[in-house]
Amino acid sequence: MADTLKVNPIDCTGHGVCAELLPELISVDEWGYPIVDPRPVPLALDREARRAVAACPALALKLMRTDEPARSR
């Protein structure tokens, strides 16, 4: 079991704080909206991922439970 980052694209306002806090998994497109790594969050980045979720001003970034195992790297 692991968590995967998901953006609710309706709620997302393209603030960009997520990409600043978690550049390993999130980049922004040319309009400022996040492009999120679809793979399970590696264990080593779990804390940073939770921080990015908590920091989203639109509450648009979520961690969702998936059945895939976490990547270790």
């Binding site: 694209p9 709620d11 309009w31 909206y33």
Partner: protein, 433 residues
Amino acid sequence: MTTTVNESTAGGAARQATGLPRLLPAAPEDLRGHLARYGAPPYRGSRDRAGVLIGDVEASGLTGRGGAAFPVYRKMAIVARARAGRKVIVANGSESEPASRKDELLLRIAPNLVLDGLQLAAEAVGATEAHLYLHYGPTPEILRALAERASRGLDGLGVTITQAPPRFLAGQETALVNRLGGGPALPTFQPPRVTERGLGGAPTLVQNVETLAHLALIARYGPRWFRAAGTDAEPGSMLTTVYRPDAKTQVFEAEIGVPLRTLLSGGAETQAWLVGGYHGTWLPMPQAAGLTLANDTLKRFEASVGAGVLVALPADRCGLTEAARVTGYLAAESAGQCGPCLNGLPRIAAGLAELAGPGHRRQTRADVERWAGLVTGRGACNHPDGTVRFVRSALTVFAPEIALHARGQCSATNRKPFLPLPNGMPTSEDDWT
């Protein structure tokens, strides 16, 4: 536009062997005619036995005919299983795809088959509330059918009719639920799926009206009968809306798996096919000429049958211009809720319009490809993905035309638009109710 039903041009002997058309009587049928042909809807009477219908639907292999081809029994089973005091079923006849006319025709000539399916599915999942969601509002045929059924006490549930706004996304499941709830017909982010939490939080089963008509026949004749038409992987028949070079729009009930050319050939010379409507795929000729009406064969071209809109584009039109015009419409039909779609679709449409004009900047085609990649998979609904499928296939199939236009030329000898769009393009932002 003229809409004709199952003229003898398509199907032929193969159709007779499988008893088609199944859904479309030759003339509109009132309740008396409907009951004479099919008998009363076979209600099961108790919820235990209602599980039989879901099993039969599973064995039949019926998939949703609104475009997504999702297995019908799976959505039914989720709603049937849910423990809720209130459950909702919706017959979706919004037909928001502007080129599709099949649901409108079905509702006009066989409304009782759709209403049978709605009531039978409602019983099977334990629905407490039934809705009919219609593009054109209630037609005389629907109102008459509902009144005749009520006077005979045929239906377990009353049916509430809601009119869909004339927007491309109005029939999308979450948009439909929002509209039925009194709000604008805008998509929302999933999960939760509407089968789990839909109208007012109630488990909600949404099925296309044609899907329900098939279900009404499966309830009577069983899965084996249903599977006598179609292929093993995709059983049954489906309604198609067919545009051919002779410019007459026709609705055919076709057996799944028939060669596309039996539906699309005829009339003037054809340069390309469009399969699956405006979220569909352009197919090159003659490479695609051997394909059949089945997702199993179409997937090689990354195409699918969708809601059954099939177009044979005449050789005298400019496919690039047609694609650019439709893409402009699709961009305007973005709900504007998701950043990538809101920003990307208008740019893609402008880029395609530039390619379709005389001469274009060197980077325009690469820009369109990049934007197409950027919007894919990043909407709350499938509008960006469907639009990109249409655009990318147009860039491939009409590549020679792009080269001509770059030199200020165009192969068309007929400038009259071929693909239909709603009259008086959209529309204001608050036009979603």
